[in-house]
């Protein structure tokens, strides 16, 4: 990261959070991970310690391809948050990964998010690197 002492920063996840830390640790290696239960095959997302499909907790981590599609999106034109205010207009979207999990992110790499995005559009992960982790953003595939 370049030094930007007074630039407002994107709010970053906390690595100490116990359910999601393994997810975020993997983003250092640009791996987008999700859990599936060894016993009942339930895909669990967001990450947790226990299975929501059975009473067990034999969850294994899998790495998603990073490919998915836009389930829905909005273009934010007003925000009072110091960082996001500087980014308007920007697109927030629910992304359906090809492997199933639906996650919230931003769509980047489009000139006019109000005109260039559609529901169902194929997207692929684009990592925004930070010191201790990377943020999974998406761009049109």
């Amino acid at each position: 990261m370049a030094e930007q002492p007074r630039e407002p920063q994107r709010p970053l996840p906390r690595l100490k959070e116990l359910d999601t830390r393994a997810f975020w640790e993997a983003t250092r290696n640009k791996e987008l991970r999700y859990q599936r239960c060894d016993d009942c095959e339930t895909v669990v997302f967001y990450p947790r310690r226990h299975c929501t499909g059975c009473l067990g907790s034999n969850l294994s981590w899998y790495t998603a391809s990073g490919k998915g599609s836009i389930y829905s999106f909005s273009v934010v034109r007003q925000s009072y948050h110091p960082f996001f205010r500087s980014r308007v207009p920007y697109a927030v979207a629910w992304i359906d990964l090809d492997e199933g999990p639906r996650l919230l992110s931003n769509i980047v790499g489009v000139e006019d998010p109000g005109a260039d995005l559609t529901i169902g559009q194929q997207v692929v992960v684009e990592w925004e690197e930070h010191e201790e982790l990377s943020i999974p953003l998406f761009r049109p595939a």
């Binding site: 709010p11 996840p13 959070e17 934010v76 925000s79 109000g114």
Partner: protein, 397 residues
């Protein structure tokens, strides 16, 4: 459960009149003032109250704090907090506790100084929290408005709903607000520009906040509060005003799931439960008090509550159908002016009960002639991700 049960009734109400207290009143003071006026409305006193329902808006250790502040020693404390739907849950729980013989007079209160505190409820970013959900989502900068906007976008995609159709929600609500002096005062105090009845064109030409939602599709951020007194049948018969019976209730949750459909809210589960318990069908409802955080909230909830089929809400609301003076077309919507144009201090659910009660007493400023049945539906949390639904069916004798 017997159809059309008469287990408990709303007997006293008060809506705190000011939407801008200019920092001169606290949420606790608004709660206490509202409680006293609602008890007065019922012809009851503090000493009659034996059950407290509280969403924690007066501070920590909610049930204890508010009991001491009011000077009460309740037999029942319920501090359910499910955001804006809390008060529909409180009404349901009060009825349950009264029916079980655990309480006779229940008091629900709400106070907020969201406007004075300059809370940017709708467009504030969310800071990085320690809950796993926050840890997974805060980085994306999803404002509250854009959360709902994603539900609207998906609704448009799946069913062909248009911005002009969504705007009908805003225009009907403003039509009612202009008849409610408190709502007009609220819009003046909150410095709304150009306070008047609006057209569909006004709404779709207003500034885009988060595509596809425009400014006039978003609720206000006010101060405010209110109180509701719910009592057992024998108490209710002796109260000052005619009882408004709680006929049926339903509760449900919704959150993101793999393959989930965000055009369907938790109301699709809570609504049928409430209607079945009440022995009432949606087409019998005269007044629909539906949580209008945004236009899309109402459209989605009208469908999910069964007023029209899923996906047909856009066409159904066209042509001013939701106005109070069109009773032949189905229920009147948010006849107080709603959260869009009268009162939204953060958790609007209590006002749904208040205006539904006014309608069934014949006290509304947009009175539906001979209103007999009303629904109050609270949506707490966020429509486009995770929320609770509380449906309450109300009726008069």
């Amino acid at each position: 459960m017997a159809a059309q049960g008469r287990d408990a009734a709303i007997v006293g109400i008060h809506e705190y009149p000011s939407r801008d207290v200019e920092g001169e009143f606290s949420p606790l003071q608004i709660k206490a003032e509202s409680a006293a006026r609602a008890l007065e409305d019922a012809g009851l006193n503090w000493s009659d109250v034996d059950a407290i329902y509280d969403a924690g808006d007066g501070g920590g250790m909610a049930g204890l704090t508010i009991s001491e502040y009011f000077g009460l020693h309740p037999r029942i404390i319920d501090t359910t907090n499910v955001g804006g739907s809390s008060y529909e849950y409180h009404a349901a729980h009060a009825r349950r506790d009264i029916a079980a013989g655990k309480a006779r007079v229940a008091l629900l209160t709400y106070g907020s100084t969201a406007h004075s505190n300059a809370m940017a409820i709708g467009v504030g970013g969310r800071g990085g929290g320690v809950h796993p959900v926050d840890n997974m989502e805060s980085f994306a900068g999803m404002t509250l408005v854009s959360n709902y906007a994603m539900a609207a976008r998906r609704h448009m995609h799946q069913y062909g709903t248009t911005s002009e159709q969504l705007a009908e929600i805003s225009t009907a609500t403003r039509y009612h607000a202009m008849r409610n002096p408190q709502a007009v005062q609220a819009m003046q105090d909150l410095e709304f520009l150009d306070i008047r009845e609006t057209t569909v064109e006004d709404v779709v030409n207003s500034r885009m906040i988060a595509d596809p939602l425009h400014l006039l599709e978003c609720c206000m951020i006010s101060d405010g509060g209110g109180a509701v007194v719910i009592a057992a049948p024998d108490v209710a018969r002796d109260c000052a005003k005619n009882p408004v019976w709680i006929l049926g209730t339903g509760e449900a949750t919704k959150y993101p799931e793999i393959g989930g459909d965000i055009t369907i809210s938790a109301a699709a589960a809570s609504g049928p439960s409430a209607f079945a318990e009440a022995g009432v069908a949606p087409d019998e409802i005269d007044v629909a008090m539906i949580y209008d955080s945004f236009s899309i909230t109402v459209l989605t909830l009208l469908e999910d509550l069964g007023f029209c089929a899923k996906g047909e809400g856009g066409a159904w609301v066209e042509g001013g159908r939701l106005r109070f003076d069109r009773p032949e077309d189905g229920p009147a919507l948010n006849t107080d002016g709603g959260g869009l144009s009268s009162n939204h201090p953060g958790m609007r659910g209590i006002f749904l009960l208040l205006e539904a009660t006014r309608q069934l007493r014949g006290e509304s400023t947009s009175q539906v002639s001979d209103a007999r049945l009303a629904v109050a539906h609270g949506n707490g949390g966020m429509l486009g991700s995770r929320h609770c639904a509380g449906t309450v069916i109300l009726g008069r004798d």
